[in-house]
Amino acid sequence: MSVRFPTACLCVLLLAGAAAAGLLGVLESAHPRVAAEAEAPWLPPAGVVRPLFLGYHALAADLFWFRTVQYFGGHRQTDRKYPHLYRLVDLTTSLDPQFVDAYQLGGLFLSLGRAYPEAAAIYRKGIEHNPDRWELPYDLGRMYFLDLGDIPAALEWFERANALPGHGHYVPRLVARLRARVGLIEAALEMWERMLETTDNEYVRKMAEEEIRKLRARQRGAPATAAPSPRAGGGGPK
């Protein structure tokens, strides 16, 4: 009895494919560290990555940004620890220093992971490379205000954002309210509400909604003038 050649090829293909998939499953369950190490990548310096991409630096930045988003999203849903996040954001922004979204969202991700000095470093790097973009000093001011409760530093960065062309219509109002040092919960609410209004990103929208809900609950149970407690100082522009 002879087996026809295409049938034999198909059989080998299916059997070998199934065996490969099975072996991969066994390998991953027997050696979970392999998956864990792949998840925590070795990141080469930007100076090494740039030549490898033969001038397509922006494309390299996009690829590392994908990796950053997947890394943050994966840990956000599990242990909420991000030991490699700063290096990923730093590499992405070093490959393309004009990638404003990466500074903004990378800084936000880092501040959500309570890595405030790293987040501030990313925002400052973004401001240095994009001195005409008001969004970055604004975001840094927001972090000082909402997360660190450092009102003087927040005010200084908001003022810097306010001095740049194209700033949001709400920035002068925030500056004025912070200068008056009253209604700080309202100011915080306003910041998240502006973020909700201006973002076209579903993920950021959900996050802003969650923060607004928390602040409103706080507003109902606390005096309206309660401010975030100061935890750091001297973070203003140098």
């Binding site: 397509y56 940004w65 997947q70 990638f99 404003v100 993920y203």
Partner: protein
Amino acid sequence: MKTVAIAFNTFREAIRDRILYSLLVFALAMIGGSVVLSKLSVGGEVRIIKDLGLAAIGLVGILIAVFIGVGLVYKEIERRTLYTIITKPIRRADFILGKFLGLTLTLAVNVAIMGAGLVLIASAMEGRLTWELLLPVGLTFVKLMVVTAIAVLFSTFSTPTLSAIFTLALVVVGSLANDLKLFAATFGGPLLQGVVAALYLVLPNLTTLDVGGAVVHGRPVPAAVATLAGAYGLAYAAALLAGAVWIFQYRDFK
């Protein structure tokens, strides 16, 4: 007129090449796939589509220029059709220029298709016509003309395999020209710096023709910079073609 006839003949021959369609389909799939890929990102979705699209046009264009370009002259020698051509009253320069223009026309059609695909997708995502992408696409086409000229130059005296290796090597060096200069300035002594400075002038600087990053970030590209970059590319391609004609003129086909 003879140059034009050879160019159209080369174009007809190139569009029959299956590798051309494989690469074109790959590029269009890459541009279309960028929409799906951008959904994986948080922030910068349109930017990713533009970056990936421009990279696809550049990379696929380079592959077309190299793999079709390196065989342009060699195939004619191998098939012995060249002997029929050079016995006719056709100058060898016309033959080389015709071959170059034929492949350039093929690349122009391909770049136009890929560029239109990218502009359509980016416009649909952004809700406005993204005309500004035409500038990096146009300068990518000039870059491909330089690569084609390199491939034609090597094709006049070498085998397709060696020509492909040499051309790709020059493309790599040309894409790293600025890094090379920076490296020498940072780490090298006066001798290395002098050698690199000389090489910098002789080797193609393909980075000057890359304005995609600036356009995608919405930064203005001054008209003078774009014009000078385009003129540099055309002048470099012309110099390479002159070299190709010179070598081909003195080549003995006995």
